[in-house]
């Protein structure tokens, strides 16, 4: 991003000028203290006031290798959503900073052909002119716009209308005003064949260059003609200047004429642009690449400086201030990075390895190399000190301030102090791998030597510190003053502190401490080989790669005046913003999203050598310097606006079919649904993270990390809504994308109405079953009630017929005896004897009745027993002969079956006794292998049709008998006619599901397990069989 003097910063809270200088002064005094007049200082003054040179800007190139449809770039523009559109000779592409998206699959075929012009109108519609005609792109869809009657003639130009929602488009045949996909021809009173370029000024006048001059047309009439031979280029700058060019010379319109400008670009140019900083840019379109004219200085950028081709034809300044260059060999971008990398072009030695960096007390920067001496930055150029200046060929591991210049620590050589243009070896320094020289406030110089300990030179006296002084670690990599006269040392077992008297281990760390910084919060920051550790007594935390660091090993670290941490890890340089550290300390977060810097930010190399040397320093102007492997870099710590990315849908695919983003209906069935999405980003697009959710399926966000696709399989039919959100490189989430509504249509059997129908049918079935059950139960209850009533009535009548009659008779007899006593006591005596005998009979009969009543309840009685009782029950006279016989081996019947059969037979026999006036009643029981047959035959009066159907009053009769028969799956037949007797035949299965179930159930209960075959084992089950009945 080009940081601006135009004041675009979003987080600037201090006014520029006085306050900033005050802040700067305070900073210089208190180095690390945060007594700043307000929370955040805007940009600290850069070391050099000069603008960043063109060649210092980060030039990035994209070609077909990165997905550009074709290398010949013909047009560049940007839509309001942030996407960059690139027209090439091989079609149109949309660029989100990460990937070129072509529309080969889901756009009109014309977009694959050569594109000549691109423009965006007031409403944000993209207009595309190409060999295939004019297209408009809005809301994710392309529309072809026919021009004129024969839209065959190629488009010559495209221009956005000033102040109006329309565009101008022209061919050799016509000039059109295109509004909402309708093209209206505009009559211009000039021949269109010669029109080279058109612009519209703020007053709405059209300026037309036709090769001879510039014609100004207002309201369709030529207002003015300015002769300018060969004029073929027109440009209106934002400040209202009108420029014209003939390919070699530039003219500016001033006071009703075009006057030539002094040379401000290459000798030839095909396009020009005035950027927001009022610099004039030109594209040579041939030999000289591009140029920038700024503050009276002309800079050229050609192939030698990295331009893809000197034939650059298109220039476009995007909304972030980056300059896009379209060449015939690729698309390029100039971006002002956060980092300034120094290289050979700044005077540094080529192909050297850089190890250490330092700012001396005179605020100038020193850098140390491996074997190529030390280098000093002076007035923007680097100057070296090598063997000739007393610097041996060794690894420069660190610097410290000396009396008249820096003191350099060189591995295995010792310390060398600068004096009068040369370096001189300090005497008395032990040999070894020397690290981290540092001078503290009292003037003493400290350094560490691997496996030997820490040394101090104070007033020319060398003191060594080791275990005897509390320094139990012999591998000290870092020495940092604590700001209170003491010193911190980082070793392989933790951090040690020197309080002026003794060393003590303050922080034990399981990993080597390579870097130490004192935070302005008062805590101690340790860079260890396994993460960043923070200790301040109350809050402690550790961050590793798992928590968001780009790497586990922290090589160097510094905290800037804003409280941001600038550190290097094995995987590069990064910045952890202050807010994230605060969140961490307050427990609101347990991870960080550092800004990880890359080549896009101006780094030539991300690599920093991890050998315990001093690779990072915080200059007194507040900027962190790093010694990267390929050279020193310095970062701009000014707050940069980190715009929030707006995630957008890119496309939807259902199985193999692709659709542009938009609400979508999916046909029934199992499909793979994939959503692709992206977000335009100008910097670090590869660090952008996404999350998405499919409402209707899950309302939680799913982290996609850097993946830009989400797919779903086997979603249930229904309505869904897909949303996506993108976070920038420091983990701040942008707005949620517009939701995409997805309707998965159901098969008819998955639809709601079908479900409702099924539910209704099921409910209907349940209701019907319940109704039938209830009816059956009601019928059963009725039958039972009826049986009980009949039984009670029968008992009542029996009591009436026997006990009451007996008692009545007895009473009468006794009364008679009373009378007889008066007449003749002997007769009375005889009567009494006879009465006593009769009463004994009565007792016997009553006992029979009672015993019969008992018998009804007992299961021990067989069917034959019960039917024998029936005779006794109904016999009144001697008249009918009752014969009961049985064929086949009598069997124990299931009590239920027995009772039912008995009820039916009893009724039939009762009928015969009561109503038939028969001579014989014959009951035959046949025990067949699988069924039971009972036949009751009488030779009595028989029944009429009406009695057979309706039954006789006072009896549950035939219908009752039929009901009983149904309950045992039996059949009942009645044959009878008046005068011909009656035959009742009952057939009932003995074994069947009705009894099997019950018997098996009891069997299972007895045995306690299921039999292997799942078959009933009634036959072998003893409980169901008993001794045979005897007839």
């Amino acid at each position: 991003m080009r940081q601006a003097r135009s004041g675009q910063l979003t987080e600037v809270r201090c006014r520029r000028g006085k306050l900033r200088r005050l802040a700067f002064g305070a900073l210089a005094l208190a180095e690390f203290l945060s007594i700043l007049p307000c929370g955040r200082v805007a940009a600290l003054e850069p070391q050099s006031e000069k603008p960043v040179a063109l060649r210092q800007e980060v030039l990035k190139t994209w070609t077909t290798e990165q997905g550009l449809p074709q290398n010949f770039v013909t047009a560049i523009t940007q839509t309001p959503d942030g996407f960059l559109w690139v027209g090439t000779n091989g079609g149109l592409a949309r660029f989100d900073g990460f990937r070129f998206r072509t529309f080969a699959q889901d756009g009109p075929p014309g977009l694959r052909h050569a594109i000549s012009q691109l423009t965006v109108d007031e409403e944000g519609t993209l207009w595309i002119a190409g060999s295939a005609g004019l297209f408009a792109y809005r809301q994710g869809r392309f529309h072809g716009v026919p021009l004129g009657r024969n839209g065959a003639s190629p488009l010559e130009g495209l221009l956005r209308c000033a102040h109006e929602k329309c565009i101008w488009a022209w061919t050799k045949e016509g000039f059109f005003r295109v509004d909402n996909e309708t093209a209206a021809a505009v009559k211009l009173s000039i021949p269109l064949a010669t029109v080279r370029d058109v612009r519209q000024d703020r007053q709405g006048r059209l300026w037309i260059a036709d090769g001879n001059g510039i014609k100004v047309i207002a309201s369709g009439k030529i207002e003015n003609v300015y002769p300018l031979p060969n004029a073929r280029l027109l440009y209106l700058s934002n400040d209202g200047n009108i420029f014209a060019g003939d390919g070699h010379k530039l003219f500016r319109f001033e006071r009703s004429r075009f006057i030539p400008e002094p040379k401000k670009g290459p000798d030839e140019f095909v396009q020009m642009l005035v950027d927001r900083e009022e610099s004039l840019w030109m594209a040579s379109g041939g030999l000289e690449g591009i140029s920038r004219f700024e503050d009276g200085k002309l800079e050229l950028l050609g192939v030698k400086q990295g331009l893809a081709s000197n034939d650059a034809r298109v220039l476009f300044e995007d909304r972030d201030g980056d300059m896009w260059i379209g060449t015939i060999s690729g698309l390029q971008r100039l971006h002002r990075g956060r980092f300034r990398s120094y290289s050979e072009q700044d005077g540094l030695p080529a192909r050297s390895q850089y190890d250490s960096i330092f700012e001396d007390k005179f605020k100038s920067i020193w850098v140390g190399t491996l074997g190529a001496g030390v280098w000093h930055l002076e007035a923007g150029r680097w100057h070296g000190f090598g063997v000739a200046h007393g610097v041996p060929r060794g690894q420069i591991r660190g610097f410290a301030d000396g009396d008249s210049g820096p003191i350099v620590a060189i591995a295995d050589y010792g310390l060398f102090a600068y004096r009068n243009g040369r370096f001189h070896k300090l005497a008395g320094v032990p040999d070894g791998y020397i690290s981290s020289p540092v001078r503290v406030a009292d003037g003493s110089l400290w350094f560490a030597i691997l496996h030997k300990g820490v040394y101090r030179i104070y007033r020319n006296a060398l003191t060594s510190f080791g275990p005897k002084d509390g320094l139990t670690d012999d591998a000290i990599w870092a020495l940092v003053p604590d700001g209170k006269g003491g010193l911190w040392a980082g070793g392989k077992t933790g951090a040690f502190h020197w309080n002026g008297q003794r060393w003590s281990r303050e922080v034990a760390a399981p990993n080597a401490v390579d870097a130490i910084a004192i935070s302005r919060t008062g805590g101690l920051l340790l860079g260890t080989s396994n993460g960043l550790v923070y200790r301040n007594g109350k809050t402690n935390w550790t961050l590793t790669q798992e928590d968001g660091l780009p790497g586990d090993a922290v090589i160097s670290l510094k905290e800037d005046v804003y409280g941001d941490i600038w550190m290097s890890t094995a995987h590069g340089i990064c910045r952890i913003p202050h807010e994230q550290l605060q969140a961490l300390s307050s427990g609101k977060a347990d991870w960080v999203a550092p800004e990880v810097f890359s080549e896009d930010d101006g780094l030539r190399s991300r690599s920093i050598l991890p050998m315990g040397q001093v690779t990072e320093t915080l200059a007194r102007d507040g900027r962190p310097w790093f010694a990267t492997e390929t050279g020193p870099v310095v970062a701009d710590i000014a707050v940069q606006s980190q715009s929030l990315p707006q995630a957008v849908m890119d496309g939807i695919s259902i199985d193999d079919a692709h659709f542009p983003p938009g609400n979508i209906n999916v046909t029934p069935g199992r499909h793979r649904l994939a959503f692709t999405f992206t977000a335009p980003a100008s910097s670090a697009p590869e660090q952008m993270r996404f999350r998405y959710r499919l409402l209707g399926w899950k309302s939680d966000w799913v982290n996609a990390d850097t993946v830009r696709e989400a797919s779903y399989m086997g979603l249930a039919p229904g309505n869904y809504s897909f949303q996506v959100q993108a976070a920038n490189r420091i983990g701040k989430w942008g707005p949620v994308s517009e939701a995409i509504a997805v309707e998965l249509e159901p098969y008819f059997w998955q639809s709601r109405w079908f479900l409702a129908l099924v539910v209704m049918v099921l409910v209907g079935i349940v209701v019907e079953i319940t109704r039938r059950r209830t009816m059956q139960r009601a019928e059963k209850l009725n039958l039972r009630f009826q049986e009980r009533s009949a039984e009670r009535e029968r008992i009542a009548l029996q009591i009436h017929d026997t006990f009451i009659q007996d008692l009545t008779g007895t009473a009468l007899q006794l009364e008679l005896v009373g009378l007889q006593l008066e007449e003749d006591p002997r007769v009375a005596q005889l009567s009494l004897t006879s009465l006593a005998a009769r009463m004994r009979e009565m007792v016997a009969r009553s006992r029979d009745i009672v015993s019969y009543l008992h018998s009804m309840a007992g299961p021990q009685f067989s069917l034959l027993d019960l039917l024998t009782y029936v005779e006794a029950e109904f016999r009144l006279t001697d008249a009918p002969v009752y014969k009961l016989s049985s064929i086949g081996a009598a069997r124990d019947l299931h009590p239920f079956l027995r009772d039912e059969v008995y009820s039916i037979c009893r009724e039939a026999i009762a009928n015969a006794f009561r109503h038939a006036a028969a001579n014989t009643i014959e009951v035959k029981i046949a025990f067949l292998p699988r069924k039971l047959t009972v036949t009751i035959v009488d030779d009595g009066l028989g029944m009429s049709e009406s009695i057979r159907r309706g039954g006789r009053a006072g009896h549950f009769g035939l219908s009752g008998m039929q009901t009983h028969a149904r309950r045992i799956d039996g059949t009942l037949q009645l044959e009878s006619a008046p005068g011909c007797g009656t035959r009742v035949t009952l057939e009932a299965p003995i074994s069947g599901p009705l009894y099997g179930r019950q018997i098996r159930f009891s069997f299972l209960r007895l045995v306690g397990r299921k039999d292997e075959h799942g078959q009933t084992q009634i036959e072998t089950h003893g409980a169901t069989r008993g001794p045979h009945d005897s007839v």
Partner: protein, 213 residues
């Protein structure tokens, strides 16, 4: 109701119809001592009718329950033979309806078993003299029965079917009417008997003697 004519006679001729031999014999013995000649002892309806035709007794003492047919049937048969026949029902059945039915059918008296022999003889004389043998107990029952809301023939038919466990639909088919008609009848039955459901209606009807099972 058939009027009972006065017959002047010294010795009253009585036919005793009862299925229980001790009752028959006991009554016969007692009547003999009250100057009542027993012309016959019948154990069932058939014998009773035959004896009646042969003997033409002044009064028939008839039990309601007989082994072959009901006492009412026999009563009707006797009155058919001779409409002037005086029949006194002697029974232990106490249903309101049976009292009503007997009186309706033309019985001259309705006496409950357990009555003293002498009193019974007295009542028979009274009947023979053209009087009625309706003790207070019986008159009360009669009055109550007449006073109560009686079920119509059709309703009794419906109730009978219901008591046999028929549904409305089945009852409608058997009686050749619509189901709605049956419903209406059932509604009326429930109202008249002040029953809350069909089962209760059947129970009440049985108690009152509208229904016999």
């Amino acid at each position: 109701m058939i009027a009972c004519e006065v017959v002047e006679t010294d010795s009253l001729k009585v036919l005793i119809v009862d299925d229980h031999p001790m009752v028959r014999e006991g009554l016969a013995g007692i009547f003999a001592r009250h100057n009542i000649s027993v012309t016959g002892l019948a154990a069932n309806g058939q014998t009773a009718i035959a004896m009646f035709q042969a003997e033409r007794p002044d009064v028939v003492l008839l039990d309601l329950r007989l082994p072959d047919r009901s006492g009412i049937d026999v009563l009707r048969a006797l009155l058919e033979i001779d409409p002037t026949t005086r029949v006194v029902m002697l029974t232990s059945a106490q249903g309101d309806a049976s009292v009503y039915e007997a009186v309706q059918a033309g019985a001259c008296g309705y006496l409950l078993k357990g009555i003293e022999g002498g009193a019974l003889a007295e009542q028979l004389r009274r009947v023979a003299a053209g009087g009625k043998a309706l003790p207070d107990e019986t008159t009360d029952k009669l009055a109550r029965y007449i006073g109560s809301r009686k079920l119509s023939e059709r309703e009794i038919e419906v109730l009978t079917l219901i008591s046999k466990g028929k549904s409305n639909k089945e009852a409608a088919q058997l009686l050749f009417v619509t189901e709605d008609t049956i419903k209406m009848h059932v509604k009326n039955i429930l109202q008249k008997l002040q029953a809350s459901d069909r089962t209760q209606a059947v129970v009440i009807a049985l108690q009152r003697g509208f229904l016999t099972l």
